[in-house]
Symmetry: C2
Subunit: 156 residues, 2 copies
Amino acid sequence: MFSRMKVMVGGTFDPLHAGHRKLLGRSFELAGPGGCVVIGLTTDEFAGKKTHPVRPFGERKRDLERFIGERKFAASYRIEPLGDRYGPAPDEDFDALVVSEETLPVGMDINRIRQERGRKKVDIHQISCVLADDGRWISSTRIYRGEIDREGRVVR
Amino acid sequence: MFSRMKVMVGGTFDPLHAGHRKLLGRSFELAGPGGCVVIGLTTDEFAGKKTHPVRPFGERKRDLERFIGERKFAASYRIEPLGDRYGPAPDEDFDALVVSEETLPVGMDINRIRQERGRKKVDIHQISCVLADDGRWISSTRIYRGEIDREGRVVR
């Protein structure tokens, strides 16, 4: 088997909900034993453009590390500050990018830029969004609004 | 880890070149030990719409089985005749679809149809095309034209 891939994934991860856990779990699975996951975590400045408040970088990073530690994934990882939509993905040497339905266009952009710069395109793994109990996407915005909790349960 | 996914992939696989081997290898890897890969192999009638001749279904199936047997993948598989672009993918219960850069639009169509029919969308894994030594895609058409061999070496 091949495995041992270097996989990139990015996000704000606040709060870390069931959709994020699927995104991260799949990233580690794709990387495989001996592989590596590079997690781009949005900086406070970049995340500040969202419509809802976002907790500070350090707190979000700590929650990510706690989640990853609990799962005992076989691949190694590192968390890097992500200051814009693309981060180092247009130029760095890696194998696969994991995206959500929302961020697939960013992944396609990254491959277009890579090609323009004469770099190898990467594989793109798009996970389908995790649905809340009401059949709509789980998103941080919906959790922040108090519509659902981070497991996708409707808050009454 | 999760793994144990049911993965679908389709193609004509004639001749079975380095790009196909990447597509199939990744499908088995994603399915994981205990998972299953459903390979849609185009029927002679459907494949007959291609611009180049295609060997009969039975010969293409035998080559697929030989390749899979040699690799000793951990997931099980079955090969099904694929009589149109979508096959059973809009209606069948499965987890992930593996596509190439060329067939990503088919994957997006399948998810759109699934959603219209009230079915869960599937994850889509797009592998980047394998490049021949001349930096262009490996494709059956180019192999048939005698430009490259199935490993992507330029034929002189």
